[in-house]
Amino acid sequence: MEDSRIVQLYWDRNEQAIPATSEKYGNYCAPIARNILGNSEDTEECVNDTYLHAWNAMPPHRPAVLSTFLGKITRNLSFNRYQHNTAQKRGGGETMVVLDELAEIVSDTERVEQVVDRRELVRAMNGFLGRLPSGKRSIFICRYWYFDSISDIALRFGKTENHISVILNRLRKKLHDYLCERGFEL
């Protein structure tokens, strides 16, 4: 079913919207949740919650790209669940390793006087990503947006795991420098 038709089902408050979404995008959302959470029970719950959130968001929202709209909800829900689980000492997928890598970009401390404008930060991130060749940009996003494992990314892009790690390492350093040059105190 076309995306516009699925979105219209939500707008019509037609419950067929949920199975239509699940059929088309279940296999897109589930790996995102699984990468973050690392267990099938939480994954299933987060994917189901994704549809509920989509139901609550549409209307009034009309997403331009349905796949990434749903993916973003899944990512947010899964990440929240991960943080909840971590507080209760329950492990989770790739997230801990991914976060440790991201710690190279930020100070990983919470300073009261430090207020970062999130919208400006996203804009700067987009500026950085926009300057990368599409291949490297996609590798970076696979790792830090989709939480894909290094081995999965290596397989997808036909490179060795070591090569992917080197690319990511350099890109993290570049992003850190890029943001610092633009005055972000991370």
Binding site: I105, N126, W145, Y146
Partner: protein
């Protein structure tokens, strides 16, 4: 900032990049399968069997690179996005440009010619297709003036001047003219010029005409040019510019229409994608590094 917060903020990046990341990786898999299939077909050719490799054949006299710069990846499973076209930047040759010259402008005798403004429908009727490229880079938008073109028509109905300019820039003034960027006082985006009769300006390449390198995009020869263009303000004493920015040009003829893309402050990769989208008609153009 906590790493968790940074990770959350990263979730808000441009969704086109997010989509691209999945399409790119999926398509590479598909491409691999396709190359494997092509290799199998090639074996069959050697064995004397008929095959369907005609798309990869090259004609004598062509000046394409060694490998194909155009593959269709097919439709990713589970989505209804259009088929993606895959290009390799290794197959793209860029020639240095020393400048541009305007072809001599003709004067049209009002007794013999009329100046006419074509609207969108007229342009579509004359060219037989929508000239807007299927792929427009992020951050660029169509000028509000794009829907019309001033042309010259003879009293006998013949078209004497048919050039259409389409602007795609990052921002516009109220009158529709593109804005300069703040950091670099130059335009950011591209103008697409199209004509069946002939383009109104020419690139002056540093190389002799017969040595200018041509790239092959889907069987269409495309000439790419590059110029390190200066921008002002200029130093009043030394006349040195404030700096330089990248200017790329892509020129080609496709389906009897001559095209020129003049891009300022754009990556070469993006210019290649725009050209490939005109030739393929596909929006999804992937660059295979």
């Amino acid at each position: 900032m906590r790493k968790e917060e940074f990770c959350e903020v990263f979730g808000g990046i441009n969704e086109n990049y997010v989509k691209e990341a999945r399409t790119a990786s999926k398509s590479k898999k598909t491409l691999w399968v396709k190359w494997a299939a092509a290799a199998a077909c090639l074996t069959a050719v050697i064995a004397g069997a008929a095959t369907g490799l005609t798309n990869l054949d090259r004609q004598p006299g062509d000046t394409p690179p060694a490998s194909s710069a155009f593959e269709n990846s097919g439709r990713p499973q589970g989505t209804e996005s259009p088929a993606a076209v895959i290009l390799s930047m290794e197959d793209i040759a860029v020639n240095e440009i020393s400048g541009f010259v305007d072809a001599a402008r003709k004067w049209y005798d009002p007794a013999l010619y009329d100046s006419v403004v074509w609207d969108e429908e007229d342009i579509l009727g004359y060219y037989g297709k929508d000239l807007v490229p299927a792929y427009i880079p992020d951050g660029l938008t169509a000028s509000p003036q794009n829907g019309s073109a001033s042309v010259i028509i003879g009293k006998d109905g013949s078209v004497a001047l048919d050039t259409v300019w389409l602007n795609f820039y990052h921002d516009y003034y109220e009158d529709g003219s593109p804005k300069l960027t703040e950091e670099v006082s130059a335009l950011k985006g591209f103008v697409l010029t199209a004509s069946k009769i002939g383009l109104m300006n020419d690139c002056v390449y540093l190389l002799p005409e017969d040595e200018v390198k041509v790239s092959d995009i889907g069987g269409t020869p495309v000439t790419f040019g590059y110029r390190r263009a200066p921008y002002g303000p200029y130093d009043p004493e030394t006349h040195e510019p404030s700096g330089y920015f990248d200017m790329y040009v892509a020129e080609f003829e496709f389906e009897d229409i001559q095209y020129q893309i003049l891009a300022e402050q754009m990556e070469l990769e993006e210019v290649v994608k725009v050209a490939a989208s005109i030739i393929s008609g596909e929006e999804s153009i992937l660059i295979n590094e």
